[in-house]
Symmetry: C2
Subunit: 413 residues, 2 copies
Amino acid sequence: MKKLLTLATAALMAGSAFSQQALWGGTPLVSPQINPDNTVTFRCKAPKAKTVKITGDFLPENEIDIPNYGKYALPGTAELTEGKDGVWEFTTPAPLTSEYYCYNLIIDGQRTIDPANVYINRDVATITNCFIISNEKGDKGDLYRVNDVPHGTVRHMWYNSPSLGMQRRLTVYTPAGYETSGKKYPVFYLLHGSGGDEEAWYVQGRISQILDNLIATGKAQPMIVVMTNGNAYEQAAPGQSPEGFKQPQMVMGGVKEGMKEAAFELSFPDVRKFVEKNFRTINDKKHRAIAGLSMGSFHSEQISKYYAGEYGYVGLFSGAGVGDGRKGDGSSSQSPVYKDFDKQMANLFSPKNRPELYYIAIGKTDFIKKGSDEMRAYMDEHKYPYVYRETEGGHIWRNWRIYFTEFAQKIFK
Amino acid sequence: MKKLLTLATAALMAGSAFSQQALWGGTPLVSPQINPDNTVTFRCKAPKAKTVKITGDFLPENEIDIPNYGKYALPGTAELTEGKDGVWEFTTPAPLTSEYYCYNLIIDGQRTIDPANVYINRDVATITNCFIISNEKGDKGDLYRVNDVPHGTVRHMWYNSPSLGMQRRLTVYTPAGYETSGKKYPVFYLLHGSGGDEEAWYVQGRISQILDNLIATGKAQPMIVVMTNGNAYEQAAPGQSPEGFKQPQMVMGGVKEGMKEAAFELSFPDVRKFVEKNFRTINDKKHRAIAGLSMGSFHSEQISKYYAGEYGYVGLFSGAGVGDGRKGDGSSSQSPVYKDFDKQMANLFSPKNRPELYYIAIGKTDFIKKGSDEMRAYMDEHKYPYVYRETEGGHIWRNWRIYFTEFAQKIFK
């Protein structure tokens, strides 16, 4: 009889002192509990609390008024009811549809995470819990979850940007088999919104799950997806740069006061150069796509026309605008990227440079839908071809996952 | 005057509805606030709360008694004091030393994250906030932070394990320049503890930051680090596998009831085969290391002796045990991996197979220190060479980062 048993048992306690505490002293509460009919029950033990609420993207939205922008929909809230032993509970009144959902609890006015749910994500400066409803019918939840299909690789890596004078972090998805196939692949540059970073599409966008699933079923071509950081003033996502653990900020257009206008767009060739040197890429227009959400849509619009003829597929998700750029003080931008909109668009849609696909998508209640409508009117007026997709809802990740899923199936074919 | 200004301003609102809410309605509270003398102030606005406490690994530990194991140190707690406007505050009584720290708040008995701190990590089933104290003197905090040095790449990828009959996820660090150098590199297999997974060393262990910093200063050789999932019953970290978003569990030795004993150890050749096929590796004993913490230490001990002569550097962090393996019911294990301890150890330390380094490390108050001491006595008795490192504290990440840092500087030289 030797000591290995002791060691093996002791191994149970590994992890950290924190994990011990959670596992030993933890409550057996299950939250969220996905019921057989796809209603969902949330529970929270808070015997001293006066109110416990939940806010999530599965609850009816609340509209607020934003100065100069009109109504804007925020996730709704619902109240949990206190039962015995101080356990509060809320069950959605109706089954939830197949989707990836996010929520927070609000205990006595304090917004926080659900202590019983270890699944979280960060969106800009907000930590939320998440869960997936799958209906096994191939709908969104099934597409956003990990299935038993070949999986691609996701890399966190760094490139050098001489234009911005810094090393910068990016996220790269390569399809299953990339490492050993010896093949070359098309490249999709995928840009985040304001306040986001190079992790946003990977975390909130579920793009590695979506692509694994689409490629496995032959619905999308195997492709490399490059997710840059569109905030020209920073090297990397919060906590991942030498700046350390500072509170994330949203900065106008991803460019800070005093920086060169269109700094991100003008630095974009640094990204391409790195990618084409470090990955096996097919380097022509028909094998290069660019798309983004909100600020990333703005960036995609600018980059696709300023570097006309480089990107064969352009996706503007929840953001598209007509006209020359303006600076924060209302004066005209002098950046060549933002000037001569008409001329640049005419060049982009010239026979030589014309994209295979110019995709504009927006939600019906998006607060910037007017800008998108104007862009379409402009496109119609100039007879520039595009595909338009309108969805329910507003400026939300649920829509961006839909647009990504559709766009990814239309490119490189 | 066109609409681009509107779009650019609207881009400010991008992210998601959740992010808007946090940034618009958010409190300007700063927490944690690292003061000039490296004391740290924590703040929490909770006007309705009766008590707000903090628990963290920088507070004096509390000892608890674990049946059959004796005293075990848990992170201490401290009380925040309510000031005006319902803002609670606590400042550490003394400056904190250079380190990566984790903590939680406890509001009215409910353990939760600090709503003002977006930096979190998951350790098994616990979400904690984190921050770093750097003193700019090259101590631990400086080593654990991101500095302006060349950065390696971290990959989340999948390998096929015929032995376990599943695809499995792993994390791989490659040093800066790997992609384009054309060189071959040594490989360090780094294993997590019970309940952990392939993300543990990357997140809590800060190994990509540590290696970037050590390699940049010439203190460690450029190397590939492979972080597998040591729980033989699962494909991937919670939320990253087809099992979806289930509550993480700790399972005895990483093997579930009914599974083959030593399932993980016996499947380890699948990992090596994948790595040596997919990366440019130097395939000999002098360029192959294995180490792990707690359960991962147990795995490293077994793998290094069962596959004697394959691993030139062996690191047992907070876990080492003497003797033949026992099953959960106390009977002898029949697995060839756990049998014939004396014979296997003699074979491992034969002139042909002898590791360049056999490193045993443990904290003075670790609850499994006795097993480690017995292992050393056994090594001494048999005149097997090893390096021993003893630190303050117990079975905690702070120590595992120290051991990793030291071990990484001793290998492949």
